[in-house]
């Protein structure tokens, strides 16, 4: 929701808190919640602890099947052929049809399981990693370039999308990341770009002559790149800019079976709308694929993009209403470095506003549940341990409600119903793990200098280990960062 976020005026004096407090903040706010010993490890040099996690080669890759989007495309095609066979044979022999129906069901389940396995591998990376700031940074970009499981083909491509387009590029230039996202098969199917055809292109003429009906433009990806990925909705572009950009992007598609690059990005010159384009006052006379890339390049460099994206970074990491001094500093660094994301990450770490001891961010369900596993040094053992609670809390795996991605604000996630569900889940979790823990020590491990006397007292007075554990993970401090 685009709620108005007022900047905090009259910034406080920007002195940094104690090293102990900074270690707790580094691990809980910048990271994904403390694993045993993690806050202790960050105490020597909290900023250095974070800076060491920035690396040019990008974020870590989950230990998953390693299947590429091309592999997944092939599997989907096999599945669709199976489905066709099943349908065609329905009227034939009953026995044969039943056997085929079973094969079809198994194949469908196998695909669903792959999506679950991708999500679980990513969740395990988040629970196990020692470089949790790096992982949070990657998750931020995966959410910025949201691909959601609204279509079956898209759902099997989300894992490969994050691995191929997002993770390698999160500490590179924003333009590289933008191009990687905008040309990945997952994004091209999610936002319907793959079939978009220039109305005056050769492909459209061909389709009309063959009586295949009117082929044409789909402006979904163009609009969301402008509104969500780059300049933002208030940048002053018009419907005509959206349509012109959509024309420039025609031809961005995915290779078919018989082609050179099945299941990978291809540029189809025949589908590209001929002619020059004008987007946001700029003229694009390039031919073919270069035209769309030129628009992307200009959008990546646009000052509105710096403002829009840096505002999001500050809201994700620091506060739903971050101080303007912070967003402006990030924005300046972005413009100075041409959108060098490693440099922007370093500037975030170096910003005193990011180290305010008051935890302003309420954890999303994903952050909340995974930080609970991190707390006990464990990982979710199966997707069935994770998916139901995330769905119940309103964050169904790989299913952001729109291309805008998951909301980041406390108002969204701290709803009455969600708090009750968190409590019920915490009770269940505690019933399994708490009897082997020392709750008082765990509270210190979890929150370090952020542990307040009220919470410590409530935990020490609990009747049972289970009650103490549930109190800890339901405490205001643990649910915030």
């Amino acid at each position: 929701m685009g709620n108005v976020t007022a900047s905090r005026k009259g910034d406080r004096p920007l002195s940094l808190p104690s090293k102990d407090m900074m270690a707790a903040i580094a691990v809980t706010r910048f990271g994904l919640g403390a694993r045993p010993g993690e806050i202790e490890a960050a105490k020597g040099d909290p900023k250095g602890f974070l800076a060491a996690q920035i690396r040019r080669e990008g974020a870590d890759l989950p230990q998953d099947s390693g299947e590429t989007s091309a592999d997944r495309f092939r599997q989907m095609r096999d599945f669709q052929q199976q489905r066709k066979k099943e349908r065609d044979q329905k009227d034939g022999q009953a026995e044969r049809a039943a056997a085929n129906a079973q094969i079809f069901k198994d194949a469908q389940r196998a695909l669903r399981d792959k999506v679950g396995a991708d999500f679980l591998a990513r969740a395990r990376l988040a629970t196990n990693t020692d470089a949790a700031f790096r992982e949070r940074w990657a998750l931020f970009w995966a959410n910025h370039f949201t691909v959601s499981a609204t279509k079956q083909i898209t759902s099997v491509l989300i894992g490969p999308f994050e691995r191929e387009a997002i993770r390698p590029n999160v500490f590179g230039s924003f333009e590289t990341l933008l191009v990687a996202s905008s040309t990945h098969p997952a994004m091209l199917t999610y936002l319907d770009q793959a079939q978009s055809i220039g109305p005056d292109s050769r492909a459209a003429g061909f389709a009309t002559r063959r009586g295949k009906g009117k082929a044409g433009l789909n402006e979904n990806l163009a609009r969301e790149i402008l509104e969500l990925h780059t300049v933002g909705v208030d940048a002053g572009y018009s419907q005509a800019d959206v349509t012109e950009f959509a024309r420039a992007l025609t031809g961005f598609s995915i290779g078919r079976d018989a082609e050179d690059r099945p299941g990978q990005f291809v540029f189809r010159g025949a589908a590209h709308e001929p002619g020059a384009r004008t987007v946001m006052g700029r003229h694009y006379g390039q031919q073919g694929m270069k035209q769309g890339l030129a628009v992307l390049s200009d959008l990546a460099a646009h000052p509105h993009t710096a403002r829009h994206v840096c505002g999001k970074i500050a809201r994700h990491f620091v506060s739903d209403a971050p101080p303007s001094s912070l967003t402006e500093r990030l924005e300046r660094r972005w413009m100075q470095t041409g959108g060098d994301l490693a440099k922007v990450a370093q500037t975030l770490i170096d910003s005193p506003e990011a180290w305010d001891p008051v935890p302003a961010k309420f954890k999303t369900p994903y952050e909340y549940t995974l930080s609970t596993w991190r707390l006990i040094g464990a990982e979710p053992s199966a997707i069935e341990r994770l998916a139901p609670i995330l769905t119940g809390l309103g964050q169904k795996p790989f299913s952001a409600p729109s291309p805008k991605g998951w909301a980041e604000d406390a108002q969204t996630w701290a709803a009455p119903d969600a708090l009750i569900k968190r409590m019920q889940w915490a009770q269940g979790f505690a019933a399994v793990v708490a009897d082997r823990t020392d709750p008082n020590a765990l509270a210190a491990e979890a929150l370090g200098a952020r542990l307040t006397p009220a919470v410590a007292k409530a935990i020490s007075r609990a009747e049972t280990r289970r009650e103490a554990f549930a109190l800890l993970v339901m405490s205001p401090e643990f649910q915030r960062r």
């Binding site: 929701m1 079939q195 119903d417 109190l471």
Partner: protein, 424 residues
């Protein structure tokens, strides 16, 4: 549209004809506080830009079939409403209600926003502001706020997260299906204590516990009422009271999560009929952004919507007569089919208005038609009705919200959107 009858003009008419004002006022207009306290309003937000031309296909419009091409519905496929409009075949509950005068369509309604951005348009729909960033609270929450000094009204959203339309100063409840709270555990009390100085978690948690208790009661109560049995029934022998049984419609639903949708609707109804239950509720449905392969996608979504409404109708039982339901979307879609069997972001769409409190009648607002020169920017169904007019009319006539409050507090900057009166 016929000139809407307005309370004041009618009173004026009565006076000029020498008819006693007391006569006119005796029943229809003297809504007492206790009557108003029974009135219920449910707003269903269909997110993603619901295609109005699929919800209520104007199959009688000369330009419809050509514009829609491969995704046009044929006149004999739709559920007929009048000479121009039908309803999508999946909307059988809505159709059955329309036949008894308890459902109407507003086929060219829009918010004041024209940016065709989901997020901007949803914000404008939910805040009730005249433009984006005009307000950061929802108009249903501000309704609760202005009613509070007169009679406290409860608000509830269905779903684990709170939609903007119900966010604001007044704490509203939220609920979604889940397991119950173990009342014997000490944890809820300990947490309430831990949250007592927390301005966010304190009130939200207290509210959650309250709602959870109410949910237990709602489920228990419903299990014992015929309305709930009806909703759960799958055999026609348990027919609904009254002339129709939309519940029985369309067994395809059961294949599409329809049972869960109906249960959701009926549980919400169960909430609303409890003694201190919510009078105002908001439900969000996602997935209406149909850029490609629209026909199948929208059928599934409309089937779900229809099942929720069916459940709600059943769950409310006799209280349906005190209820108005509005199903509305942030914008409609392009009049023409696009190159990928779908439609892109447009402007006006269809709102569904339902409820036993509704007055029977034809379409709400004017139909601009689909002739090329009638389309908005040669592209979308042109808006003829500001959705704030609909909202304001329902709040004034149905919930008795003071007109001055409507203009200043609930929908500021809405002078151009006059309340639509005579709907209830």
């Amino acid at each position: 549209m016929n000139a809407p009858l307005n309370r004041r003009s009618l009173l004026g008419l009565g006076a000029s004809l020498g008819i006693g004002v007391t006569f006119l006022g005796s029943q229809a207009f003297a809504a007492s506080e206790s009557d108003l306290a029974r009135k219920k309003l449910v707003v269903v937000i269909c997110r993603g830009g619901m295609d109005g031309l699929s919800v209520s296909p104007p199959v009688g419009d000369a330009n419809y079939a050509a514009l829609r091409g491969s995704i046009a519905l044929k006149p004999d496929e739709v559920l007929k409403l009048d000479g121009t409009f039908g309803l999508h075949p999946e909307l059988s509950t809505v159709h059955a209600l329309a036949l008894q005068g308890e459902a109407r369509i507003a086929p060219a309604i829009a918010s004041p926003d024209r940016a065709r951005s989901h997020f901007e348009a949803q914000d404008v729909l939910e805040t009730g502001a005249s433009g984006v960033y005009g307000a950061d609270t929802g108009w249903l929450n501000r309704t609760l706020e202005v009613l509070a000094p007169i009679r406290p009204v409860e608000g509830l959203s269905v779903g684990s997260t709170a939609p903007l339309i119900l966010r604001g100063k007044v704490q509203a409840a939220s609920w979604s299906p889940g397991k119950g709270v173990d009342e014997s555990a000490r944890l809820p009390t300990l947490l309430q204590d831990l949250y007592k100085t927390d301005p966010l978690l304190g009130p939200a948690f207290a509210r959650g516990l309250e709602t959870e208790t109410m949910a237990q009661q709602a489920m228990t109560a419903m299990a014992a009422t015929p309305a709930m049995n009806l909703a759960a029934a799958s055999t026609p022998s348990m027919a609904a009271p009254g002339p129709m049984s939309p519940t029985m419609a369309n067994d395809r639903r059961n294949r599409q999560g329809g049972e869960a949708a109906r249960k959701l609707g009926s549980t919400l109804g169960g909430f609303m009929i409890q003694p201190r239950g919510p009078q105002i509720a908001a439900v969000s449905l996602d997935g209406f952004d149909t850029h490609a392969g629209q026909s199948g996608q929208i059928a599934t979504r409309l089937s779900y919507l229809d099942a929720v409404l069916d459940g709600l109708h059943a769950g409310l039982g006799a209280e349906w007569k005190n209820t108005v339901v509005i199903a509305v979307t942030e914008f409609g879609r392009t009049a023409r089919v696009n190159g990928t069997g779908g439609t892109d972001h447009g402007t006006a769409s269809t709102a569904l208005i339902l409820g036993g409190a509704l007055k029977p009648g034809g379409i709400v607002g004017d139909w601009p038609g689909l002739a090329q020169n009638a389309l908005f920017e040669n592209r979308d169904t042109a808006p003829t009705l500001d959705m704030r007019s609909l909202f304001k009319g329902v709040l004034a006539d149905h919930l008795g919200v003071d007109r001055a409050m409507l203009e200043t507090k609930v929908f500021p900057d809405s002078k151009t959107a006059k309340p639509l009166i005579g709907l209830v």
